[in-house]
């Protein structure tokens, strides 16, 4: 019985020791953080776009990598280096913006691309940047996190983008077909295809 009592008296000490060790470890593991993540694969138009065209882009995957519920803002802003032309932010419509994510939750932000009629052919590059919304603080410096992925596209040359050229080609094809038909009729030649 006395042995049992001694053992049970040891429990509080053991519990205190466990709590102290746990308490010492807690600040590191429970450290609050804010974070932002996006899908690392570039968002790109699968085929060259055409001036005046409107396209659906793959959505931007945004995830809260921090430990606190955070507001996010998505914008188009060139950060990556490269020789490509800067893709103007006005060409991209971010169809859902200024949203809040709980820790480790994600959202796919739909994107739409509208190329102006006078867009210059060539390769374009920019970045889609998902940033934590900076809250109004009472003073001091507020910290923020953001993640960016590439947004790439090419605009096809004028030759293939002008509908008049395609119409002209179609008219020319019609004229050639008519000329062949007339020549065949005048010559009296009849083509006969036989299958054996």
């Amino acid at each position: 019985m006395s042995r049992y009592v001694r053992n049970t008296r040891r429990w509080p000490r053991a519990l205190i020791a466990v709590l102290l060790i746990g308490g010492a470890m807690l600040p590191a593991s429970a450290e609050a953080s804010i974070g932002a993540g996006v899908g690392a694969s570039p968002i790109a138009l699968a085929q060259p776009g055409h001036a005046g065209g409107t396209y659906s882009l793959p959505g931007l995957y945004v995830v809260n990598t921090g430990t606190v519920t955070t507001g996010y803002v998505v914008r188009v802003h060139r950060l990556s280096p490269g020789h490509q032309k800067v893709l103007p932010a006005a060409w991209v419509t971010i169809e859902r913006n200024n949203f809040t994510l709980r820790p480790h939750r994600s959202m796919v932000v739909p994107l739409r691309l509208r190329l102006p009629a006078g867009a210059t052919p060539g390769s374009y590059l920019s970045n889609l940047v998902a940033s934590t919304a900076v809250p109004h603080h009472h003073g001091g410096t507020t910290l923020g996190a953001a993640a960016a992925t590439k947004l790439e596209l090419a605009i096809a040359g004028q030759g293939s983008s002008t509908p008049w050229l395609r119409i002209g080609l179609a008219v020319a094809a019609l004229m050639v077909a008519a000329a062949i038909a007339a020549a065949v009729r005048r010559s009296g030649i009849r083509l006969r295809v036989e299958r054996h």
Partner: protein
């Protein structure tokens, strides 16, 4: 008569061929990109790598205090360390980490303090570095003038350019060409150098620092 015979022997065949050519030539390119109606959309979710960055302070707060209530910024050009260090952790994909500052905005919304002396930013318009007092940040030749301030993030390596309102390579990663490896975490401290004078009389100013993971 098979289709080939029909095409070759009749006018209708020629007309049909021409119509086919027209249709092919005039089909809008946009239709080939899936904007046409009448289809069934199927979404398949595929796991993809994540580019991310996380920022934490030792205190767990989402911000740090510059100077403090008990030791507020004095004029001219008070040096102040932040109340806490900041740990910046790159996500699972290697890449560059950029950092960017912002204007300090007074609590009454009046005249901002602008960042100065950083690469490509506004020059500091205060007194020239006399070489005796603590130097301006980021190698600036002058101290911040009225309504100007300087801020920089430092790791143990020390010297770094002053922050600007535009993203720039985080100095803590300079030794690695500004590239952070997957999962790399670095502790940085924030250093502040105040204006020579302030137009706005507010007792608190707020600014922000943003770290960005860039491909």
């Amino acid at each position: 008569m098979n289709a080939a015979q029909w095409l070759c022997q009749t006018r209708r065949g020629v007309a049909g061929l021409a119509a086919l050519v027209c249709v092919v030539a005039l089909v809008p390119v946009e239709a080939a990109f899936g904007d046409s109606g009448g289809s069934v959309n199927e979404t398949i979710y595929v796991s993809q790598p994540l580019r991310s960055v996380s920022v934490a302070t030792g205190s767990g707060e989402a911000g740090v205090e510059i100077c403090s209530n008990s030791q507020p910024v004095t004029f001219p050009n008070d040096h102040c360390p932040a109340s806490d260090y900041v740990t910046v952790t790159n996500g699972p994909v290697a890449g560059a980490i950029d950092v960017q500052g912002a204007d300090a905005v007074p609590s009454d919304g009046g005249t901002h303090w602008q960042l100065c002396g950083g690469p490509g930013g506004t020059d500091c318009s205060g007194a020239a570095n006399d070489g005796v007092s603590e130097a301006p940040l980021g190698g600036s030749a002058n101290y911040p003038g009225q309504d100007q301030y300087q801020e920089e993030t430092e790791d143990e390596g020390g010297d770094s350019p002053a922050l600007t309102n535009n993203p720039q390579c985080d100095t803590a990663y300079y030794g690695m060409n500004c590239q952070a490896s997957a999962g790399q975490a670095i502790s940085e401290s924030i250093v502040f150098l105040g204006p020579s004078a302030s137009t706005d009389p507010s007792g608190t100013f707020t600014s922000s620092i943003m770290w960005t993971a860039v491909p």
